[in-house]
């Protein structure tokens, strides 16, 4: 049994199946502009690895040597503050790229990237990436656009954490998760991304106990239904009202 398991672990995931040329995730992200020789060069220099849930793609504070692109699965990026407390700064999914800010700024990674679920992630080292970027202005513009969007999101989040009451922040988080990962059902919108209470708390800068209490209150008010980690939004208007957002 052990020998079979070892053999299974040793089996190489067929990199040829995850070619940049046929990758559907590529068309959703900044690499959609790549064609011809540039795409071929990317494909030749990329390495694909399967990360199991909980495995680390890169560590906060470590030097960047490459750019990562998510082929499938989801990754959480978090910063570790004083006392070891984690603050999730982003959740990335298919077609998202990781580590680009550290590469461009020539700084260490600003956050740790950890697989939130099993994920296939491509890596291209900077010595292969930068020449392609230099020859492809559309790719460069796509990266600038991406960085600008993330900067806006980060500023909004910082303002939200600093100024909004915890109840509003939690409601706003549920609405954001609904928008990004919501799946309609007969009862309401089910949030397809299942986070732990701790992860939800980290995303809005509250304690786990406060997150649990707030979810319990929302459940009591019939705004949401909770089944372990699965959350269903039952009353969108009431949640928008709690988040102090207009429809």
């Amino acid at each position: 049994m052990q020998a079979m398991q070892s053999k299974r672990l040793m089996m190489i995931k067929d990199n040829k199946k995850q070619s940049c040329v046929t990758c559907t995730s590529r068309l959703l992200g900044i690499f959609c502009a790549l064609k011809g020789e540039a795409l071929k060069e990317f494909n030749q220099n990329k390495t694909v690895n399967h990360y199991k849930k909980g495995q680390i793609i890169f560590y906060e504070g470590n030097q960047a040597f490459g750019l990562y692109c998510i082929y499938s699965g989801r990754v959480k990026l978090y910063k570790t503050g004083m006392g070891g407390r984690q603050q999730i700064v982003r959740i990335a999914g298919p077609a998202d790229i990781l580590g680009y800010r550290a590469l461009f700024a020539e700084e260490p990674y600003h956050a740790t990237a950890e697989a939130l679920e099993d994920a296939d992630i491509c890596c291209i080292d900077k010595n292969a990436f930068f020449p392609v970027l230099a020859k492809n202005p559309e790719l460069a513009l796509g990266v600038i656009k991406k960085i600008s969007q993330e900067l806006r999101f980060a500023e909004d989040l910082a303002t939200s954490i600093a100024q909004r009451p915890v109840r509003e922040r939690m409601a706003a988080l549920l609405l954001m998760l609904r928008q990004s990962y919501g799946k309609p059902t007969k009862k309401g919108i089910v949030i397809g991304l299942q986070l732990t209470r701790e992860e939800m708390a980290e995303m809005v800068g509250i304690t786990q106990e406060t997150a649990i209490r707030l979810l319990s209150e929302f459940k009591k008010d019939k705004m949401i239904e909770v089944k372990e980690r699965e959350i269903t939004i039952l009353n969108l208007e009431a949640l928008l009202d709690t988040a102090n957002l207009e429809i």
Binding site: I12, H50, I56, Q63, F65
Partner: protein, 104 residues
Amino acid sequence: MDLKKSSTTKKQWDRLIAKGQTLSFKKGQVLFYEGHHPYGIFLLQSGEVKFTKQDTPCLREHFFSLPQGKVIGLKPFLEGRAYSCTCTALMDCRMLFIPKSEWK
């Protein structure tokens, strides 16, 4: 592994090392996971690492040593196969990393 028997000449190694990037790993951080394909090779310049296979210790790798450090992960890299062990820093380590794109 003797440098003289290696198919990579000293001149080639000197060129590769010049292109390398210094990386630091803190105690407990993972350099690479069992089953993953190499992004390049590591030269361990300071510190210590351990190798584990499915959470049990691996037989110690026979290191190929250069003046700049012990080469880690050369065989899987050259043979185009996945790592057979997970490599974790036993203490704060400094590595010279030579990426895949430099081996042309």
